[in-house]
């Protein structure tokens, strides 16, 4: 890079700032035509003009000659871009739509350079330095976008983990743990800890693990379940596994998983009935009610 090229680019940019901005916005509106609903024209204009301003300032400070974005001249541009791509990621823009914001600035700047710089060699130099900077900015945008997306995923994972492991008391001495979603090692750990803690807190004798909401059971999931059952047994509480769907029963047998050591029931109601019976409790019908289905007495056999 020669000193003359360092002088030329910022001057050209500053002189034609308005034209470049107009062309840039037009180009963006064309390419993001389908995304009008996500961002208003006024916002786009404001963001574009702020960015262009910061970009020219950085170029004037000498940043464009090196193409090194970690230089202090680029600080403001970097921060603005990261902020922008974070908010785009949240608004639901696609990666290429987000990157287009910076990359579409190339065309208007190249047009200006071609018109203003007559010397072929310095035109090539200027074009090259602008390309390097804009590409680096584009990559930076993608990184920030990706990072924001990953943050969202991590946050959701965390929330799901907390939401999906409630331990409910069904009766004095009977706990139920409705498991919903895939069981992996991390979740099993949380499930086990919260169940065991609740067993201590409530002094419950029986815990029902309901796996109606677990989509698939493989050997690993079965092993996790058995571990939970074994830990509860060590503390002195019995476990019943309920909510085993027909397909899952088939899978378990085909996989050769041994569930003989655990009481298993098809539905949560069956498991609850067994738990009541073990504690010497029963359900009786107090009075005839026309609304109650006739089968309720047989579903939960009363008396002990």
């Amino acid at each position: 890079m020669t000193l003359s090229s360092h002088g030329q680019l910022p001057t050209i940019l500053r002189r034609h700032q308005r034209d470049i901005l107009t062309e840039w916005i037009r180009f963006q509106m064309r390419s993001t035509a389908t995304r009008r609903e996500l961002i208003s024209e006024a916002d786009l204009e404001r963001e574009s003009s702020e960015f262009l301003n910061a970009f020219i300032k950085a170029a004037e400070a000498g940043g464009a000659t090196t193409g090194d974005l970690s230089a202090p001249e680029w600080q403001a541009v970097r921060e603005m871009l990261e902020q922008l791509s974070r908010s785009r990621a949240q608004q639901g823009f696609s990666p290429s739509e987000t990157a287009t914001f910076v990359l579409s600035l190339k065309q208007p700047i190249f047009d200006r350079l071609r018109r203003e710089v007559k010397d072929v060699e310095s035109l090539a130099d200027e074009t090259w330095s602008v390309t390097v900077v804009l590409d680096a900015l584009g990559l930076r945008t993608m990184e920030a976008y990706q990072k924001r997306r990953e943050d969202i995923i991590t946050q959701q994972q965390q929330e799901m983990l907390e939401l999906s492991t409630p331990v409910v008391t069904m009766w004095q001495g009977i706990l139920a743990l409705p498991l919903i979603g895939t069981l992996d090692s991390a979740r099993t750990q949380v499930v086990m800890e919260s169940l065991l803690q609740r067993i201590v807190d409530t002094g419950s004798l029986i815990a029902i693990l309901d796996i109606t909401g677990v989509p698939t059971v493989d050997t690993l999931v079965a092993q996790h379940l058995l571990k939970t059952v074994a830990a509860a047994r060590l503390m002195g509480a019995d476990c019943i596994i309920s909510g085993i769907r027909p397909q899952i029963a088939q899978t378990i047998v085909h996989l050769g998983v041994d569930l003989n050591s655990v009481t298993t029931k098809a539905t949560l109601a069956d498991a609850f009935a067994v738990a009541m019976k073990r504690l010497g409790l029963g359900v009786t019908k107090v009075a005839a009610s026309p609304k109650a289905p006739a089968s309720i007495e047989t579903a939960l056999p009363g008396g002990a």
Binding site: E193, L196, Q197, I199, V200, K227, A231, R233, L234, G236
Partner: protein, 130 residues
């Protein structure tokens, strides 16, 4: 030398582990307990580990061994009050202590022992009557 006390309560023996177990102490407990079962002719042993915060595979095996030895000497063993962290550790170590009976607290453990001792006594009576 430090020892874990073994208390006699009627037909049963009560062992309450209040200190951190080390291997020597565990071996000593095995010796003492088998001796006491033989001496007293107790029908049940209640091991309270609610104060036990740290277990390793040796202590886990010791609990299993004690249960097996007591069974040979015709006494039921119930381990009571295991902490959640201890239970998780034992399961992760692959020791589910399948031969050991467990209860949440002393009271329930005592009920469990009484119930099984009563049924054993009844069975014994029937046998004698025949």
């Amino acid at each position: 030398m430090e020892r874990i006390p073994i208390l006699k309560m009627g037909r049963f023996l009560l062992v309450s582990i209040q200190v951190d177990m080390h291997d020597q102490l565990a071996m000593q407990l095995q010796d003492d307990l088998t001796q006491r079962i033989a001496d007293t002719g107790a029908h049940g042993v209640l091991i309270d580990i609610s104060s036990l915060e740290i277990v390793d595979s040796f202590i886990g095996r010791m609990l299993g061994n004690i249960a097996a030895m007591s069974r040979v000497l015709d006494a039921q063993t119930v381990v009571v009050g295991m902490r959640p962290a201890v239970a998780i550790t034992l399961v992760e170590l692959g020791m589910s202590l399948s031969g050991v009976r467990t209860a949440l607290n002393i009271e329930q453990g005592m009920d469990m022992l009484s119930a099984s001792a009563d049924t054993a006594a009844e069975r014994g009576n029937v046998h004698v009557a025949n």
